[in-house]
């Protein structure tokens, strides 16, 4: 890639990282990322005090799988990505500062790419360590058994899968919310629609399930979490997507969305509603 474009994108990234990663307004996103770590830290401390033998390492891994699906994918990752990515354009429209970018000689495609890369960097910096730490701390109270599970058992492989799913979730939801922030005046409404759509995914027909991010992410999770009763009656069983479909599929969806965002930016105008 042309070195001028690289320098321009690096310029956008630096500015966006300052805006996105180190701003006081992002405190709630940091809380979302720190929340599960805090919960598993508490879990570790409490279980260490109780010397409880009421559950096994395997059960804790299932608990983590449920927590990952419900808290991370449907909660902190989803809303965290919403907060980070939908503000990349919409936030600047609200603050009336987007015109500064539009008045620089950067191709709008690279502006989108630079902003997305900055958002992705921040979300990965927040949520990958959060996932990894939560996983590592959750079974820490088992002591050597947990170490054994990690080193000799499926622990590390599971951890790798969760980290991959977290990263892919940032990629996928990031692209979704970047576009939402660009094309809607109120990304909250778009986010609510996406959230409901992702939430009802287990109950959708097989074909519609595949038009979502969470379907592919769940397919990549190492531990399956069954839908609890009474909702299980309504759930539609569908074979998970193979990893070779899920990973490139998600990347392809993100790429398509980013191309759309780039085209929108190319045709974009500055209208702050005055």
């Amino acid at each position: 890639m042309n070195s001028l474009w690289m320098r321009q994108m690096a310029g956008v990234m630096r500015l966006e990282l300052k805006r996105t990663a180190f701003s006081r307004r992002g405190w709630w996103i940091y809380c979302l990322a720190a929340g599960p770590v805090f919960i598993s830290l508490l879990h570790w401390l409490v279980e260490s005090q109780r010397h409880s033998t009421s559950h096994t390492v395997g059960e804790d891994s299932v608990i983590f799988a449920g927590m990952f699906l419900l808290f991370f994918l449907r909660g902190s990752l989803f809303f965290g990505c919403m907060g980070i990515f939908s503000n990349l354009f919409r936030g600047e429209m609200q603050e009336k500062t987007l015109h500064y970018y539009f008045l620089t000689p950067i191709r709008r495609e690279f502006l989108v790419a630079g902003k997305y890369a900055a958002g992705l960097t921040v979300s990965l910096m927040l949520f990958v360590p959060s996932t990894a730490l939560t996983f590592l701390l959750l079974g820490r109270h088992f002591g050597p058994a947990w170490t054994d599970y990690l080193v000799h058992g499926p622990g590390l492989s599971q951890l790798g899968s969760y980290v991959l799913v977290t990263a892919l979730a940032c990629v996928g939801y990031g692209a979704v919310f970047l576009v939402c922030g660009q094309i809607t005046r109120n990304p909250m409404i778009a986010a609510a629609v996406v959230w409901v759509w992702e939430g009802i995914n287990p109950f959708l027909p097989s074909l519609l399930k595949k038009v979502s991010v969470v379907f592919y992410l769940k397919s990549l999770c190492p531990v399956e979490v069954p839908v609890p009763p009474p909702f299980s009656i309504m759930a539609v069983e569908t074979d998970p997507a193979a990893a070779w479909v899920a990973v490139p599929g998600l990347l392809a969806v993100a790429l398509i969305l980013l191309v759309y965002a780039a085209v929108s930016a190319r045709q974009g105008e500055i209208s702050y509603g005055e």
Binding site: L15, K18, R19, R25, E95, L103, T104, P105, I106
Partner: protein, 320 residues
Amino acid sequence: MSAGPPVTPTLIAFDNVSRFYGEVLGVNRVSLSIPPGVTSLVGPNGSGKTTLMNLMSGLLQPTDGKIEVLGISPGNPERLCKILGYCAQFDAFPKGLTGYKFIYSYLAVHGMSHAECDERTRAALEMVGLTGAADRHVGAYSKGMRQRVKLAQAIAHDPKVIVLDEPLNGLDPMARAEAIALFQQWGAQGRHVIVSSHILHEVDRISDQVILLSQGYVVAEGQIQGVRSEVKDQPMQILVRCDRPSVLAARLFQQDHIVEAIIQGDGRNLLLRTKDADSFYLLLNRVILETGLEVESVAPADDDVNSVYQYLIGAEGGSV
């Protein structure tokens, strides 16, 4: 067949440009050719000044028509924004940046090296007198300082076309004078300086040409004296300072084209209104020859922006 010599575009050209916001008119069928120098856009609120500026800087796209800025389409921001700097009206800045960082960061998005960004940032801050406040957060700046840092940001990459939307807003008289001197200096250097302002007497001082806008239409354009002479339905006002204004007045009242003649001030000023300035000047020469009238000065009294504005827009557009 050989191609002709390459044409170096030196104009900002609007060709039948219209812009609508839904059903609301922004500007309609604007055709303009703006040469280098200081050009002022004058018109009441909602007349289309900012729309015109946003169109030429690519922030808006025309609904119809074609725009070229020194031969570059505003639809090509990669080329346009290298030669154009725009100080917009919005008093908004990215949060958490110092004055230095604000200018530096957007120069970095131009793709400049650290050394170049640093050098240009310092030069721009110095030009607007903000070197001492470079490391303070823009959020802590006064309105005048914010206006100046916006100016610095707009010109930091040394553009050939400088578009300034109400650049004098919030500036104190000293800063205003300095800013006006800068605009004139840039204009004299052969840059295009497009300024919109509400302050008509300042527009008058700084402009090489004006564009008068009203309700989305260009009412008049060109050098202000030329624009004034085109306003045929308003008699020209001319102020003559001489030793015997009553003699001159008596001769003037015999002419059909003289509408009014008033002796003013210390009794040596004659303010007259004529429908035919050329005939008046011929008559004045005759009177001087015949009566020995001693004339100190003769000057048009209403070929300034303010008068032209009032004649062309005042009634329909209200005050600026």
